[in-house]
Symmetry: C2
Subunit: 306 residues, 2 copies
């Protein structure tokens, strides 16, 4: 354990693991509410502010409006670069594979934000050149597949590897290592507001509230209800012209697993076939997964060919 | 689905199941917060009041202070009768078996409160006579076992049956079909408060806040942190003189499953052996469970005899 670890209450397994890891202190738990009503937003803003105070106490440094505004601008720039990278995935022959795009999303979670964003902006220029030249990352005519559900963190690209070696292209991840990570920017506040009335919240407080508000816009399955996620999935499937959806569920993730029922029904109504894959980080089920995925992809061919 | 169903967000599996069941409306979800801070208590009180309003709208009837106070009194009387029944379980030779006590707890969840309470008060008189005569429900010298963790709802008495046919007595359930159900009464408010200042919350509002406060006192594993549960378990193990604890975990209940680590450590420090059983409502694992439980109970004999 470092000086301080931090986690949030997005799911039962994480929440209770923090209790065990934090038994001797040194763990800060942010309570993410389960609905998105006014009382929930108030509670969450309080949690974000309390975490900022904890960091200030730990480091002995004060959060300034200038530094915070700068960090918000950097993270927004990073989100825009990721969104730009995703524009190329909408092309007829995407100049980047789904597996490579996933690795970039995984790096986004751990790399230094400034360095990462600079490199990604360079990559985006390269992708523009490739797209203009019609250079596809993966050869041949390929079905377009969207992956939806749980995140795949660094080291875990099992599903994408299986799909793309089976002859399709993964055109989008609707996950926290996908659209959920970069959609929605934090509102940028001026460090000093000349029009601020006396008694108005300080600039840091207002900026922290904007940070909190951005994260309440996430359509994670931990929220109840979460109909906006189904709406977003159907919209994204249209924008990226997905011909099939793989719902990717990590073992023991009850929220995405149960929400998969609603998502599958919505996709079916929209005429988009889907399959639900429940797996984990191990490699032991690769053989079984390959058989199931190939059967699903074959049904897509049959569907179009019939 | 009836006119209205109701559920709460105690765990991921329930929360997301309500989303699916409530897709066509007719489902009210109470958001139970995950911590017990001031903002959580405010949020929860709001949820209880919103539910009361929903019931009023559905039924077209208004909740009166008199009716609400009467219901609170009845439920408190029921809790006291259950607590009284549990006093007999502390005896050297309890006049009621753990399996019978569990069935009574299960009935408490579904029977008419007034009828149930009346019958239980009669049973308590009978138990007093049996206790005075030294009549044990189960014959012979028996180890005293406490069951801790998930609830066992009606139809599910597999664990208690296995334990008591293996020669021990279950002296307590630390669960929602046990102590969590009856511990802590709702503060009783006068329907009309002659000293109420102008502008004070109405009697119904104050009573609803007292109802909300009682439920925030529950030490369910859904809360983070939940150190009060460990404290309560050690206290109860002492009061009921438990010689061993069976942690009963229903499949997929992450919160009790992970909290079992902390509970087992606390029991070990207190010198009380424990075992963790993960099971479900099926009967298919009875053979395996019997072998594991008998091995655990044998280790208790060895421990005392050595």
């Amino acid at each position: 354990m470092e000086d301080l670890s931090v986690g949030e209450t997005t799911c039962d397994a994480k929440k209770k693991t923090w209790d065990v890891l934090g038994r001797d202190g040194g763990f800060h738990v942010l309570e993410l509410p389960q609905k998105k009503g006014p009382a929930d937003r108030t509670l969450w803003a309080g949690e974000v502010k309390a975490f900022a105070r904890r960091i200030e106490e730990l480091t002995g440094r004060t959060l300034t409006p200038e530094k915070l505004a700068g960090a918000v601008r950097l993270m927004n720039r990073k989100r825009r670069a990721l969104a730009r990278m995703h524009e190329w995935r909408k092309a007829d022959a995407p100049p980047i594979s789904g597996t490579d795009a996933l690795v970039i999303m995984q790096a986004a979670l751990i790399d230094d934000p400034a360095r990462f964003t600079g490199r990604l902006e360079s990559l985006n220029k390269e992708l523009a050149v490739r797209a203009a030249a019609g250079t596809a990352a993966l050869p041949g005519a390929r079905k377009r597949i969207m992956v939806s559900g749980c995140p795949s963190v660094l080291g875990n690209w099992k599903l994408h590897y299986l799909l793309e070696t089976a002859g399709v292209t993964v055109v989008l991840d609707e996950s926290c290592t996908g659209t959920r990570y970069f959609r929605g920017e934090v509102e940028e506040m001026a460090a000093a507001d000349p029009q601020a009335s006396p008694g108005a919240p300080a600039a840091v407080e207002r900026q922290l509230e904007a940070v909190a508000a951005r994260y309440m816009g996430i359509d994670c399955s931990c929220f109840s209800p979460n109909t906006e996620r189904t709406d977003n999935i159907l919209r994204l499937a249209g924008e990226y012209r997905a011909e099939g959806v793989v719902q990717y569920i990590l073992h023991a993730c009850h929220t995405f697993n149960i929400e998969a029922i609603t998502v599958a029904d919505a996709l079916k109504s929209a005429g988009i076939p889907s399959i639900r894959i429940e797996t984990d980080y191990s490699e032991e089920d690769i053989g079984q997964l390959r058989i199931r995925l190939e059967a699903f992809l074959e049904s897509l061919e049959f569907r179009n060919g019939a």
